[in-house]
């Protein structure tokens, strides 16, 4: 095996960049975590409450998922920290012997609970159960994530909406840095759990630069780009990601939080991001939407009632793959007939959608290794818009042009 282009090793994470796109900032890497090796670029499905909506861990493993998310806020409520401690963590609880990443719980609180307020101490909120005042501090968050036992844990950060402007953005950025220090001090198991820093600073280039520099001084095993995907315009998103990846070290994983639309993934990989997560593919499945190479289709629509073809002819997921190849050979007509009526309809679409996301990134990785990422990107857009270049979003064209990929070529 050739020596990696860039690498880093900490107690619980080894990161090796094995290939780089010769035009864009896209890179392929392997990351060795306590529960096995994962390959990036990678999408991580979200199993909020230690279960992926109706799927068994065996089904998720069959999709070749190597790393999934659990949400700290939810696991803190149910089953609760005492239970997590007693059973020996989330891996054991959900019978998942592969990797888990958890968020800090802060974002969930701020987005789910309207009454959450933030001060230097932490995030104050009222119990969703009985209204008791509660507090999530960086120390609480570390303690909970230590009990969960996830392979990658996230610092508690001060999350502000990306649409926020003015001094609050800067305050949140500095506070996130202070909170990282508190998290590092409170983290009990650095030898088996990797604490990632989160870059804040809204869409302000200067704040992002400062935050990157400060966070890099803390030398965490990996770094996340946070505070995006919150309604900012796409060009600001791309500019901010690109700015961060220019500063962040080459030899550490970069995790773009809350990103999951196919176009965003393809562009963000070109901008140098490695890891992504989003509830979108599973949530949209429950509304009857299937992700395909030509965009999302809603199988509830009447036009699919007698459509006896698979969701996507290109798809190799267990749902779409014909029976002769060991799959289920499901058709749009069958899913149309099931969806919103039988839970198995949602389960099947969830399987398909997670496969779509995982596969999109797997194929991206193969393309990077073969140094054909620009071709892969062009093929992706061509299929998505049926070859009609006039329909390509301008922000995609611009962002990709900024890393030397000409989408219109």
């Amino acid at each position: 095996m050739p020596s990696p282009l860039a690498s880093s090793a900490s107690k619980a994470l080894t990161f090796n960049v094995i290939a780089k796109c010769s035009r864009s900032k896209a890179r392929a890497s392997t990351m060795i975590l306590p529960h096995g090796e994962v390959q990036t670029p990678m999408f991580m499905p979200v199993a909020t409450q230690a279960s992926l909506k109706g799927l068994t861990s065996a089904q998720l493993a069959q999709l070749d998922c190597k790393l999934c998310l659990n949400n700290t806020y939810h696991l803190g409520l149910k089953p609760g920290q005492e239970v997590l401690d007693a059973v020996g963590g989330a891996h054991k609880l959900q019978s998942w012997d592969r990797n888990i990443l958890t968020d800090s719980g802060g974002f969930q609180m701020v987005s789910l609970l309207k009454l959450a307020t933030i001060n230097e101490q932490g995030v104050k909120f009222l119990s969703p159960h009985d209204g008791t005042p509660m507090l999530l501090t960086p120390e609480h968050s570390m303690s909970l994530q230590n009990s969960i036992g996830s392979d990658i844990i996230m610092q508690l950060d001060d999350v502000v909406s990306t649409l926020t402007t003015g001094p609050r953005v800067e305050e949140a950025m500095w506070r996130s840095i202070r909170w990282l220090d508190r998290c590092i001090a409170a983290h009990k198991y650095p030898e088996r759990q990797n604490l990632f820093a989160i870059i804040q600073g809204g869409i302000d280039d200067d704040l992002r630069k400062i935050c990157c520099e400060e966070m890099m001084k803390r030398d965490t095993p990996g770094i996340a780009i946070g505070g995006l995907s919150g309604g900012e315009d796409k060009s600001s998103y791309c500019r901010t990601v690109s700015l961060c990846t220019d500063i962040l070290p080459q030899n550490k994983p970069r995790y773009c939080m809350g990103v999951g639309y196919a176009e965003d993934l393809i562009v963000s990989v070109a901008l140098g991001a490695d890891l992504f997560d989003c509830v979108f593919p599973t949530r949209t499945a429950r509304f009857g939407n299937a992700l395909t190479s030509s965009g999302s289709i809603n199988v509830k629509k009447g036009q699919y009632a007698e459509d006896f073809s698979p969701l996507d002819f290109d798809c190799t997921c267990p749902v779409c793959k014909p029976k002769s190849e060991g799959g289920m050979g499901a058709t749009k007509a069958f899913l149309h007939h099931l969806v919103t009526k039988e839970t198995t309809g949602a389960h099947l679409l969830t399987l398909h959608n997670i496969h779509y996301q995982l596969n999109l990134m797997r194929k991206a990785r193969e393309a990077i290794v073969d140094d054909k990422y620009p071709e892969y990107v062009r093929e992706f857009f061509s299929k998505r818009y049926a070859g009609d270049k006039t329909r390509y979003p301008q922000w995609c064209i611009d962002a990709l042009a900024s890393v030397n990929i000409d989408l219109l070529a």
Binding site: A50, T56, G80, E82, A86, H140, L144, T343
Partner: protein
């Protein structure tokens, strides 16, 4: 002999009142042999509740499913699946050799209070009242091409419990006969579809002479009998009904013979059919049973095919079935639960396997996880419990066949009733209330010291056993 597909392997006939029998049913269309008593898994909308097709294939032994036309009524007369050019099993993502039994109504169908017509059945489906014209039913039968086709009946509203008057009886006997005639004439059986004729459950055999003689004339085409025991008795909370030796399926009308053999006797008496011809037909109970006890009772009366409504009903209620047949050799024969409600707080840190006496199909998934999933309202709980419960039921039937073959069925049934009855009645389990409050102490300001919980694992149990 008209029916070569079913043969009785061993029966306990002559052995007191127990008429239990084992047999083999050939299903040439899919190249399968079903050993009876056997279980059919009811489907809804062509899918098995909670089980995606990959799970059906990979983690269950399900060989036969029941499909009811009622699930496809939504867009009559335009039913998309009737236009599918290939085998209907393909569209439902079923294995090519999955045995399919087509019935007009679901096993747990709600009775409709609207009267049937001469050429259509009225039904109350999940989508509201629907009319199923017999000609459409036949279209379904032709297109779905099932292994077994259960004929429709002109059943009076079973909800009221009232006994139909003389004119109504005449009408229902006549209609059922006409519908059977239509089906025999129009459904192509050369491709190995086996027609099961439905028995009129609430009508005195004397009044069914017309129907019987028609059956007699068409024995060549009839490959089995379908019974609709009165479900209201089976659903009763009153455990005396279950335990009573006079367990009477036809209550409250009380007119159907107590067991299929005496029914067959009545048919032959009223229609001059040779008893043997009818006795050797397989007998299918198309009503839902909610307790394993009901199934044992029906097996003891000589029924051969059943629907598994139990696995999913209990899975959806958060109950993991925990029984075997024969019952395990407990040290003392004190009463046991035949299932455990995983809602109970006592399971929140219980890292032992869900299976105790049955085959382990959930592998590493433990009670604490399912308890958590139930609490968190995650659908995966129902998926895992359906997988588990289905295996418990499969093992249960395996045990039934084994004991009938070695002549211990009757004594094992008695033991089963002793061990799994009393307070731990399954109906109660289904209704068990849940009062679980989420604990969020991790976030509480000035968190009070909590007692440290220590989970227990199977290894701990083993350790305890070995160190006693």
């Amino acid at each position: 002999m008209t029916n070569k597909l079913f043969s009785v392997r061993s029966s306990t006939e002559g052995n007191s009142r127990i008429l239990a029998r084992t047999g083999t049913l050939l299903l040439p269309k899919v190249g399968q042999v079903l050993t009876t008593p056997a279980l059919l898994t009811p489907s809804t909308r062509g899918t098995l509740p909670n089980l995606t097709p990959d799970n059906v294939k990979n983690v269950t032994n399900i060989k036969a499913i029941q499909v009811s036309v009622e699930c496809f009524m939504g867009k009559l007369p335009s039913v998309p699946f009737l236009k599918y050019p290939g085998d209907i099993r393909e569209i439902f993502c079923l294995e090519d050799d999955m045995i399919m039994v087509l019935t007009p109504r679901a096993s747990n169908a709600e009775p409709s209070n609207r009267a049937n017509c001469d050429d259509a059945i009225e039904m109350k489906t999940v989508e509201g009242f629907r009319k199923l014209p017999i000609k459409n039913f036949i279209e379904f039968a032709q297109r779905f091409n099932p292994d077994i086709l259960v004929c429709p009946l002109d059943l009076p509203d079973s909800g009221s419990g009232a006994f139909p008057g003389n004119n109504r009886i005449k009408k229902l006997v006549h209609r059922s006969r006409c519908w059977l005639n239509d089906i025999i004439e129009k459904v192509d059986t050369t491709n190995d579809t086996q027609i099961f004729v439905s028995v009129l459950p609430t009508v005195n055999p004397f009044y069914q002479k017309e129907y019987f003689s028609f059956i007699n004339q068409n024995l060549e085409s009839i490959k089995g009998l379908n019974f609709h025991p009165n479900i209201s008795v089976l659903f009763s909370d009153d455990k005396d009904n279950v335990e009573s030796s006079e367990f009477n399926l036809s209550k409250p009308c009380g007119l159907t013979p107590r067991d299929p053999a005496s029914y067959v006797e009545a048919v032959s008496k009223f229609s001059n059919v040779a008893m043997d011809d009818l006795l050797e037909l397989p007998r299918y109970v198309s009503s839902a049973c909610t307790l394993p006890h009901h199934i044992l009772k029906l097996v003891s009366q000589g029924y051969d095919l059943f629907n598994d409504d139990i696995s999913v009903a209990y899975a959806n209620a958060g109950v993991a079935l925990d029984f075997t047949f024969p019952a395990p050799p407990f040290a003392n024969d004190k009463e046991r639960n035949f299932g455990i409600s995983l809602w109970k707080k006592m399971y929140r840190i219980d890292m032992t396997s869900v299976h105790c006496h049955s085959t382990d199909v959930l592998g590493t998934h433990k009670k604490a996880y399912i308890h958590h999933l139930l609490n968190a309202k995650e659908m995966t709980s129902a998926v895992l419990l359906t997988i588990h419960n289905t295996r418990v039921m499969e093992d249960f039937f395996e045990g039934i066949r084994r004991t009938v073959d070695n002549n211990t069925f009757e004594q094992e049934m008695k033991r089963f009733f002793q061990i799994y009855s009393g307070d731990n009645d399954g109906v109660k389990l289904l209704r068990e209330s849940r009062d679980i409050v989420p604990v969020a102490s991790a976030f509480v300001l000035d968190r009070p010291p909590t007692r440290k919980l220590i989970a227990f694992y199977n290894d701990d149990l083993l350790w305890k056993k070995n160190n006693k």
